[in-house]
């Protein structure tokens, strides 16, 4: 059974950190009081609709907006010609070999993916704006398109950008090629695999949206938008639309999910801001679901050849990986980091591998820009490693669980051959627990009996690792990041003793209001209900980096701890002064400062807060008031881990897969709110199972998106996601004050290979080594029937 939630009022203050209390966010979301971007109505507000390219690759011969302009109620129409701002989207992560191509917010000469923006209509009403877009005529000279990264890198491929020869965006490698080649030469066995990690469409339930309002007399521009990181959008947008950063406010109201797709800076939100300045009226743009399919940055998109070298005794000797990564038509905000530093550095998995080499070629193609999607690089890495170790175990005739155990890293910190240092871990514990939950030995007996009856059961393991809380900033900078990866917080006591905590992360469903209040209440020793948390508004919180990469608790939460510690230290000085003792003689416990050895002489921190504002009796020279700011820059990444296992039954006659069980044992370090942790695991697993079985962006050869609606792209339904049995182990991280590791992406990273490994295990009698995702019934049926023919003598 799952974690039971509790009412905050029933939790003792001393236990607030770590308690599964109900979320304070929920009442507004459950009653319709929440405020999503499209809920915002402003006086005189206009609506924006965007004319998009219908072709994936074409030269633009002309755009005729006259019919749209003539419509009653159309306030403004503009194209690239009308822009007097830089209008180019920057890339936020540079690599040595990166080709930085122009990424205009409105295309004028050429479109490079279906959905590329061409013109903007501003109209009095929502439907009218879309009508007017329909009247814009575009003259296209259609060009050949390419959507597959390997095809794009071939000699005869259509070229997308003049300054990126051969469609190569970058060539990147990590690890030691020579040492790896030598290890492969010496090894007893080499097991290889060609795999595709398919393109995925994020599908946050709330489509992207923006409302912009402009005050010309003050030159102030406010943009309310669906964002995971308002401050980064403020910075990037200020350059793109040439508006001073200090006169720009970006605010995230309630945000209906992101999964990475609301990190990146897109053309659309910049166009909405420009529209508001042009018409000097508030404007709203709400993407349709069709627009999100065409324009949201997609995820994954790898084609990989990978090999593992293993000795007869089951010791892994090396790993060699060659990947072609789809980057889409232009470089999205953090695109270059995803298939490189977020991918190559995780290829050691949970294993002690002496040497690794990974080469990645990034390709421009005629699909929307590809960037971070839940997990971002780490699912791709984990998929490669976990498929290979499964195949290696099979090659050696070893049990896949015990083969993993044999090769686990056992000492921490552990430096891998791919440039990262694992902080802490105890990899056998989740494996043992998962095997126990599965009743593994009994399962293998049942599997053997079933095979006798012509029924094919399989179990698949995923001993995954992920890297969260990317840091420190200096290291990120050396790797190419064009931003620091710290987090900022301000914790402010009010004179009456309640607290408002401001933090630069920006939750969009993760329950930060609840977990961050738990952290601050615990640090200050005050009631949970006395703490308010504010996020997601650049006017309230001066600086921040946002929520992505499972960084919020590890980095944002730690920033709140640091500010709280500063408050406690100032409070201690005030308390000592008023108690007339030296500050070293004052103890602090659960909000109370007391004199060592004389516990009845004490003052509560909330009374200290009052005194700090009264300022009648403060230590000499001390400033009044009680608030503290910190910029927390972590010393290292954190590395959550765990073991997921899927149990399936496959019908080789139809290719249908039935889930029997899904077991997840995760170690995400200390848990601030176990109910929220469990929920994050569930959601992540669902997206991972979605990738394994159902999801994938598919394109026609001319670059037309075939999966452009929820009819065609399977966002899994309740009946398609198995019940999950979850448990956890706790290995605190030593690199942050909370000992937390991060949980937002764990399930998505872990699940795909658990499912694929399970299906391949079930189909072992058919010699099925690998099937590319999604494992649709037809794909599975083909894999089994082809190998059946082959084992019958290879006749066709």
């Amino acid at each position: 059974m799952g974690v039971e939630s509790k009412d905050a009022a029933e939790v003792d203050a001393a236990d607030i950190l770590g308690s599964a209390i109900e979320r304070r966010e929920d009442p507004a979301l459950l009653t319709g009081d929440a405020e999503y971007t499209d809920d915002i109505q402003l006086p005189r507000m206009c609506h924006v609709a965007i004319k998009r390219s219908r072709h994936a690759h074409a030269a633009i011969e002309g755009i005729d907006t006259s019919a749209a302009e003539e419509m009653d109620g159309v306030v403004d129409v503009f194209t690239a010609e009308d822009l007097d701002v830089p209008g180019k989207l920057p890339v936020g992560w540079l690599l040595d070999t990166l080709k930085q191509v122009d990424h205009p917010i409105l295309a004028s000469e050429r479109v490079r993916y279906q959905g590329d923006a061409l013109a903007v209509v501003v109209a009095e009403e929502r439907y009218l704006a879309h009508d007017a877009v329909g009247r814009i005529e575009v003259d296209y000279d259609i060009l050949d398109a390419v959507t597959d990264p390997a095809d794009a890198l071939a000699d005869d491929a259509p070229a997308l950008h003049d300054d990126a020869a051969g469609n190569v965006a970058f060539d990147w490698e990590i690890g030691d090629r020579e040492a790896t080649d030598a290890a492969f030469e010496d090894a007893d066995h080499v097991v290889g695999l060609d795999l595709e990690n398919q393109l995925l469409i994020p599908n946050a339930m709330e489509p992207r949206a923006a409302v912009a309002e402009y005050n010309p007399s003050e030159n102030e521009l406010a943009v309310h938008m669906t964002t995971q990181n308002p401050h980064l959008h403020r910075l990037l947008m200020s350059g793109v639309i040439d508006h001073p950063e200090h006169k720009l406010r970006v605010r995230a109201p309630d945000v209906g999910g992101g999964f990475g797709s609301k990190i990146h800076h897109y053309a659309d939100e910049a166009l909405v801001a420009i529209a508001a300045k042009r018409v000097e009226r508030p404007v709203k743009w709400q993407a349709t679901r069709t627009e999100t399919y065409l324009t949201d940055a997609q995820g994954r998109g790898h084609q990989t050849h990978a090999e593992i070298a293993v000795d007869d005794d089951g010791t892994i000797q090396g790993l060699r990986v060659d990947t072609k990564a789809n980057l889409g038509a232009y470089l999205s905000t953090f695109a270059p980091s995803v298939p490189t530093y977020l991918y190559g550095t995780l290829l050691s998995g949970q294993y002690d591998i002496p040497t690794i080499h990974c080469a990645v070629e990034g390709a421009f193609t005629n699909v929307p820009p590809v960037d971070a999607y839940r997990g971002a690089g780490r699912p791709e890495a984990s998929f490669v490693v976990e498929r290979l170790v499964t195949l290696a175990a099979r090659e050696l005739g070893e049990d896949p669980a015990e083969f993993r155990r044999q090769n686990f890293v056992r000492e921490f910190p552990h430096e891998t051959p791919v440039a990262v240092v694992y902080d802490s871990g105890d990899y056998e514990k989740p494996l043992d627990r998962a095997l126990e939950m599965l009743d593994y030995e009994e399962f293998r007996e049942r599997q053997a009996e079933a095979r006798e009856e012509g029924r094919y059961l399989g179990v698949g393991f995923s001993a995954y690792i992920e890297a969260c809380g990317l840091a420190p900033s200096e290291l990120a900078g050396q790797l190419g990041a064009q931003a620091g990866l710290w987090e900022s917080s301000l914790v402010r006591f009010h004179p009456s003793g309640t607290v408002t905590a401001y933090v630069g992360t920006s939750g969009h469903g993760q329950g930060h209001q609840t977990t961050f209040a738990q952290i601050v209440a615990n640090e200050l020793g005050i009631d949970y209900d006395d703490v308010e948390v504010v996020e997601g508004d650049t006017d309230e919180i001066p600086q921040g980096m946002g929520t992505y990469g499972s960084r919020s608790a590890a980095v944002g939460g730690s920033a709140l701890v640091k500010s709280s510690e500063k408050l406690v230290e100032k409070s201690r000085e005030i308390a000592a002064h008023q108690l007339e003792v030296a500050s070293e003689d004052v103890e602090f416990e659960r909000g109370e400062f007391s004199v060592t050895g004389a516990p009845d002489r004490s003052i509560h921190i909330q009374a200290v807060a009052q005194q700090s504002y009264l300022a009648h009796d403060l230590p000499e020279g001390m400033e009044p008031g009680l608030e503290a700011t910190s910029f927390y820059d972590p010393e290292n990444f954190v590395f959550p881990f765990g073991v997921h296992a899927a149990v399936v039954e496959v019908d080789p006659a139809s290719g249908e897969i039935d889930f029997e069980r899904y077991v997840a044992v995760d170690d995400v370090g200390n848990q601030i709110n176990p109910k929220i942790v469990e929920g994050q695991i569930h959601g992540g697993v669902a997206q991972g199972v979605g990738q394994a079985l159902y999801e994938g962006a598919e394109y026609e050869s001319n670059g037309q998106l075939l999966t452009g609606s929820m009819q065609d792209y399977t966002v899994p339904k309740a009946v398609q996601i198995p019940s999950m049995e979850t448990d956890s182990t706790v290995t605190p991280s030593p690199v942050n004050p909370l000992g937390v590791k991060g949980v937002g992406e764990a399930g998505t990273i872990a699940a795909p290979q658990a499912v694929v490994n399970a299906v391949c295990d079930a189909l072992e009698p058919f010699d099925v080594d690998h099937i590319d995702m999604p494992l649709k019934a037809e794909t599975v049926w083909r894999a089994t029937s082809e190998t059946t023919v082959a084992t019958d003598g290879g006749e066709e």
């Binding site: 799952g2 939630s5 109900e22 979320r23 966010e25 929920d26 009442p27 507004a28 979301l29 459950l30 009653t31 319709g32 009081d33 929440a34 405020e35 999503y36 499209d38 809920d39 109505q41 929502r126 439907y127 599908n203 946050a204 339930m205 709330e206 489509p207 309630d254 945000v255 209906g256 999910g257 999964f259 709400q286 349709t288 679901r289 969009h508 469903g509 993760q510 329950g511 109910k675 929220i676 469990e678 929920g679 994050q680 569930h682 959601g683 992540g684 697993v685 669902a686 997206q687 609606s709 929820m710 009819q711 966002v715 339904k717 309740a718 009946v719 996601i721 019940s723 999950m724 399930g747």
Partner: protein, 168 residues
């Protein structure tokens, strides 16, 4: 050209003028300010816009407002009674049946209809009933628990009513 129609939403009667093509969801959200139901797909696939129309759960993104002239509509705003959560809201809160909350109003409206027709559904029946409502956050597990939780509350409330002699 517009049409004058009347809609009773959560017990309040509204008279409004709408274009023939105005969708019910836009009439509710943009014309009358009921922003609880959300637009997720404009194609009846995701269910974020689900409301009750004369007692039946419907997708308001693919109904025209003029089609439902004279109807009674219940949105998520009509669930709580004088600030007291409806058992379905309580169930979603207690079981962490939501994360970003965007699909939640529709999830609850669909679940309520299920519980009105089947007060004690099995897990499989709940999952089946929710096939027209997509969630990208929760993996559905806690939504299923939320519906089970609400079912239990509603059954015991009904029993209490019956014991008080007020049941039917």
């Amino acid at each position: 050209m517009t049409h004058d129609i009347t809609l009773t939403v959560n017990g309040t009667e509204h008279e409004l003028s709408v274009e023939p093509r105005t969708l019910l969801i836009h009439a509710l959200r943009d014309e009358m300010g009921y922003t609880g139901p959300n637009v997720g797909c404009e194609s009846s696939m995701c269910g974020a816009c689900t409301v009750h129309l004369d007692g039946d759960a419907v997708k308001s993104c693919t109904l025209l407002a003029v089609q439902v002239d004279g109807a009674e509509v219940t949105t998520v705003e009509g669930l709580a009674d004088d600030g007291e959560f409806h058992p379905i809201q309580q169930g979603f809160q207690e079981e962490h049946g939501l994360q970003c909350g965007y699909c939640t109003p529709g999830m609850m409206m669909t679940s309520l209809q299920l519980l009105e027709e089947n007060p004690d559904p099995s897990e499989a029946e709940i999952r089946e009933a929710l096939e027209g409502n997509l969630c990208r956050c929760t993996g559905y597990q806690n939504i299923v628990r939320a519906v089970e939780n609400a079912a239990e509350t509603m059954r015991s409330q009904k029993q209490e009513l019956a014991a008080d002699g007020g049941g039917d």
